[in-house]
Symmetry: C2
Subunit: 255 residues, 2 copies
């Protein structure tokens, strides 16, 4: 298995989710296979950053200048993963994918991005359009939706009032408070699709906190709830990373 680099901490519950998902996938993948000792696991390097520093240094516009300090912070983390011998990297968070082009400058290992993982899942499930929910950079700036568009996926976003509700919900979920989160989210989704009645109700939870609103469904890459299809981008991305890790078995470990 390839060594997996994870740029994490953005925020930490997502890093736990990615790491656990990949380890469980390794457990499943090895079931019935022959080996001695405890179930083999891929090696990981994880750089868990300070989410406070990250959010406080978000750019205020879509211009590179505005994001310079933040870009450097992410890029340095990716460089450390590379130095630690990761064969490839994933960024365990949606928001940094808005700046994928700038933060991956000088990184020589492959970065398995979240857009390809979402696109793959959408293709398997005949999804071409969805409601995109996430942090301010993800739903207000054109980068994220633009990358999805390049994969043939059209995304709509909530109205301004509902955007604020989404941002508040993300803050609430980050503190570990899940109370009422599912009904807030479901009401928002119903409102949006009642305005866009010709759309198949599919929601892309493009912030790794959002699936925490549905604690019993949060381990699935795609799930149905109350007539709506939800995409858990964290699980879809972690699954894509594990598939990539097992494509080649030349580096079981490195000393």
């Amino acid at each position: 298995m390839k060594k997996i680099g994870i740029l994490g901490g953005l925020a930490w519950p997502s890093t736990v989710e990615y790491y656990q998902t990949i380890c469980r996938l390794s457990q499943q993948w090895h079931t019935g296979k022959s080996f001695t000792g405890p179930t083999p696991m891929p090696e990981f390097s994880i750089e868990s950053l300070n989410v406070n520093y990250s959010v406080n240094n978000w750019g205020t516009t879509n211009h590179d200048q505005s994001w310079q300090q933040w870009d450097t912070y992410m890029n340095s983390g990716l460089k450390r993963l590379q130095t630690s011998g990761a064969d490839f990297a994933i960024i365990a968070s949606n928001t940094p994918h808005n700046r994928l082009r700038t933060i991956s400058v000088g990184i020589d290992i492959p970065i398995i991005d979240i857009f390809s993982a979402i696109a793959e899942l959408c293709k398997q499930n005949d999804i071409e359009e969805f409601l995109l929910l996430g942090t301010a950079p993800t739903i207000n700036q054109p980068n994220y939706s633009g990358q999805l568009k390049a994969h043939g996926i059209n995304s709509i976003v909530p109205n301004e009032q509902d955007k604020k509700i989404v941002f508040d919900l993300i803050r609430q979920l980050y503190t570990g408070n899940f109370k009422g989160a599912d009904s807030t989210l479901m009401a928002l989704v119903q409102r949006t699709f009642s305005r866009s009645y010709n759309l198949k109700p599919v929601v892309c939870l493009a912030c790794t906190e959002l699936p925490l609103a549905f604690p019993y469904l949060k381990d699935q890459a795609i799930f149905e709830h109350d007539g709506v299809t939800y995409i858990n981008t964290a699980v879809a991305h972690a699954e894509a990373a594990f598939r990539y890790a097992v494509e080649d078995h030349s580096s079981e470990h490195r000393n």
Copy 2:
């Protein structure tokens, strides 16, 4: 906060436990403090090793020669943490602490060891003696108990038959199967203390899987259950690491 290095993956559920515990401690520690944005978190570098390679390369004797390959595997992981800028390191597992002297050769950053964390907790709770449960290297070889002895703690181990039960229990818990684990463990503890009736019933769960036998108590460094005091070494160690991380605030982040 200092940047925390974690040598993990031995096994992965313990790494989750350490990381979560430290992040929750940061959440608590910042409560009521003034800051802008999401709650600050320490930065982490985590090197998650392959537990299969580790266990398959355990030494068969207590001689350095027998552990050479394993020592190198651990030492390289610690070196990568240092290179990634960790200000100090912890090893998120009891077993490697048996070889702390050899695996920390050439490591210049402090390693906050599990023995000091256990000793601190024992001091606070007037504990001078306990039943030590863990993997084969931990309870069969003199290193681990010797380090505790140096901290003034006397440890007893189960008889040969019960040792096997402990090893089987650890394997079971590692696969995520907690069924009946609590009663198996409690019966073993009762048997041992009924033979050593003059001892205060205190058990040191010196394998980070063992607390998983008590899912509702596993987040506490020390807890009572059915008249027995249990020490959760993983939580005690994670708490010690967080205390060390906040002792100095000169490096909130590094680029």
